[in-house]
């Protein structure tokens, strides 16, 4: 599991961690049942506070991505295929919502936005 | 307690050897010059009594070893007791060494048998107790610099007293009175018959002095901010 932390990012560190772990779980990089490093181990590796990693893991557990077993550690939770798909959709939906909000602010129309979308998809091929 | 003593010895062993080395010259000189065993006892006692506390306590201010030792799992009372015990052991070493030199040096005018007797030992220990029972609590509380101040202070006081005596034209020089009293006291001690009563009184005085000094030392030290 590779996590990269940026100190200059406006996002709180625990959020950076949760986001990266989430995306690795969703993409399949982190397999179901796989053990995650202990909160203390992770804190030391990332050179951050153990409170931060604890919070990140707690968030992940709340959202159902991770199970923590007392005395054993934390593991990637079994993902319901449907739920997984939903989670993936949610991530992109959130980003799109941001884009839409920004577009509104800047006065970009829906048509222009859809055009942009088309171009971007074409690009990525 | 043993741990403390071992630590004191390890920390101060070099100073102890230096002092003993300096003593060697001094004792050699004294052994050659002094024929009176009584004078020898007094001088040795004063020397040892004055110097050994400094060996055990002298480097504290410089190295803040007090703060170090008191950070160890040791109670302050143990620490204070340890200082006294260590000082007495050092004194024992000093006296033993003095006797050794007296016996060993060929030009020594004093025979060991003259100075080695229960009474002389007790008198010696008593004199030393007198001296260091004052110095030790003072040093524990005020540190090495405090002792310097004490010594210098008493000197100055003596000078001031003399000066005042001159001014006021007191018929009897106060300093001389004090010195005469001390001399008389010493003479009485040294010449007194070594009756069991006298010896026991000495022993009691020694124990009382030390106990009192330890108590005062501990009381002062317990309050000292390190």
């Amino acid at each position: 599991m590779r996590i990269i932390i940026s100190n200059s990012s406006p996002d709180p560190i625990y959020e950076q961690i949760t986001r990266q772990i989430k995306s690795q779980i969703i993409s399949g990089e982190l397999k179901e049942g796989e053990a995650l490093p202990s909160i203390r181990r992770l804190a030391m590796d990332l050179q951050i506070s153990v409170i931060t990693t604890k919070r990140a893991y707690e968030e992940l557990e709340k959202e159902g991505f991770v199970d923590t077993v007392e005395g054993k550690g934390s593991f990637v939770a079994m993902q319901n295929k449907e739920l997984l798909r939903e989670k993936k959709m949610k991530i992109v939906e959130d980003k799109l919502a941001e884009a839409v909000a920004e577009a509104r602010l800047l006065g970009i129309t829906r048509a222009e936005l859809e055009e942009m979308l088309g171009l971007l998809f074409a690009e990525k091929e | 307690m043993l741990k403390i003593l071992r630590l004191e010895f390890l920390f101060n062993r070099r100073q102890l050897f230096i002092v003993l080395a300096v003593f060697s010259a001094y004792f050699a000189y004294m052994a050659g010059r002094i024929a009176s065993p009584r004078l020898f006892i007094v001088m040795t006692s004063v020397m040892v009594g004055l110097s050994m506390p400094f060996v055990i306590l002298g480097r504290e201010d410089k190295f803040k070893t007090a703060a170090l030792v008191c950070s160890l799992p040791v109670r302050r009372s143990t620490y204070v007791l340890g200082k006294y015990a260590a000082t007495w052991i050092a004194i024992g070493l000093g006296l033993g060494y003095a006797l050794l030199l007296t016996a060993a040096l060929p030009f020594s005018k004093i025979a060991v048998s003259e100075v080695l007797g229960l009474k002389t030992i007790l008198v010696s220990v008593f004199l030393i107790s007198l001296i260091f029972s004052v110095i030790l609590p003072f040093t524990l509380r005020f540190g090495f610099t405090g002792v310097i101040i004490l010594l210098v202070g008493t000197q100055l006081l003596g000078i001031v007293a003399l000066f005042i005596a001159q001014l006021v034209r007191v018929p009897n020089n106060p300093l001389r009175i004090v010195l005469q009293a001390v001399e008389k006291g010493l003479k009485t001690l040294l010449h007194h018959e070594p009756t069991p009563g006298f010896l026991l009184a000495l022993l009691a005085a020694i124990l009382a002095l030390n106990a009192f000094s330890i108590f005062v030392g501990w009381a002062l030290y317990a309050r000292r901010d390190l």
Binding site: Q47, S49 | L7, L10, N12, F63, P73
Partner: protein, 289 residues
């Protein structure tokens, strides 16, 4: 749920010209707490009071749940201390010093100590006075770690150390608290060190505690608000804790960045505060640059 390695309540100590007043803090086990504050704020005094090197005037100090005075020896046998100017008799060799001190600790691990000396590149037969400042610190640390202390208590451990060794030292501290039983408490005025490794931060200023909280929440909630002097006054900023004026601009420290952001919107730039900012503004900030 979390036991506290250190619990201080209402601690006070008065000197001529300086007083520590009503200090209350708790350092949870298994974590690193940093004590920050400018020089003279009272950090060293707090550490000395914890070790009972100086007598407190009032208040309570409990270490591992035990009173630090009544159970002095027991408590100290579980503490490894590192003071900012390690003082050992200069002419002694390292192994002699260790020999004198190790006898006092039941849990002294000679093997571990030798390993640490090797790791720190400290020759055991070297005289203490021949060591550089950094090496003296390392020696102090080796001694503190060798007896498997539950609490490592340090006063300005990184002052005067080069960045490389500071980095290593902080790493080592983090490695230490992999065990939940071990706790680290250190005072420093080098805020970046604390920002890196501390779980909790206590800020002391002029003998009083300004805050004692999780480092993350401090860094998330404190902020610096910047604007042109004509657009903003210190009173406009909620929870202002100090400000600084430069020729054209005003900078205000706030302990509630979110509220400031909401209230001031576009009028000012709101950034997160670093521990250094906090220390600076609280210490000096009510005046001109």
């Amino acid at each position: 749920m979390m036991d506290n390695a250190i619990e201080i309540k209402g601690l006070s100590k008065a000197y001529k010209g300086f007083a520590l007043e009503d200090v209350t803090l708790a350092a949870p086990s298994g974590h690193i707490m940093g004590l920050i504050g400018p020089n003279g704020a009272g950090k060293t005094t707090i550490v000395k009071l914890i070790m009972n090197l100086i007598r407190r005037d009032a208040g309570e100090i409990r270490l591992f749940g035990l009173d630090n005075r009544r159970c002095e020896a027991e408590v100290k046998s579980r503490i490894g201390f590192v003071y900012d100017a390690p003082r050992f008799p200069e002419d002694l060799r390292l192994d002699t010093i260790a020999s004198a001190l190790s006898a006092f600790y039941d849990r002294w691990d000679e093997v571990r100590f030798k390993e640490l000396l090797k790791e720190f590149c400290l020759p055991p037969r070297q005289a203490f006075k021949k060591l550089s400042h950094g090496m003296k610190m390392k020696f102090s640390l080796a001694l503190a770690l060798a007896h498997q202390a539950d609490l490592i208590l340090m006063d300005e451990p990184t002052a005067g150390l080069d960045p490389v060794f500071r980095f290593e030292l902080l790493n080592r501290l983090q490695a230490l608290i992999q065990s939940e039983r071990k706790t680290v408490f250190f005072s420093s005025h080098i805020t970046t060190d604390l920002e890196r490794v501390a779980d909790f931060v206590t800020f002391v200023h002029k003998g009083r505690i300004v805050f004692s909280a999780a480092k993350d929440s401090v860094l998330e909630s404190w902020g610096v608000v910047r604007a042109k002097s004509d657009k903003l006054r210190p009173e406009d900023v909620p929870e202002a804790r100090g400000h600084r004026r430069t020729e054209h601009s005003l900078e205000v420290l706030t302990s509630d960045l979110a509220a400031a952001g909401r209230l001031l919107g576009d009028r000012a730039v709101c950034d997160r505060a670093s521990l250094e900012d906090i220390m600076f503004f609280v210490s000096k900030g009510n005046g001109h640059a």
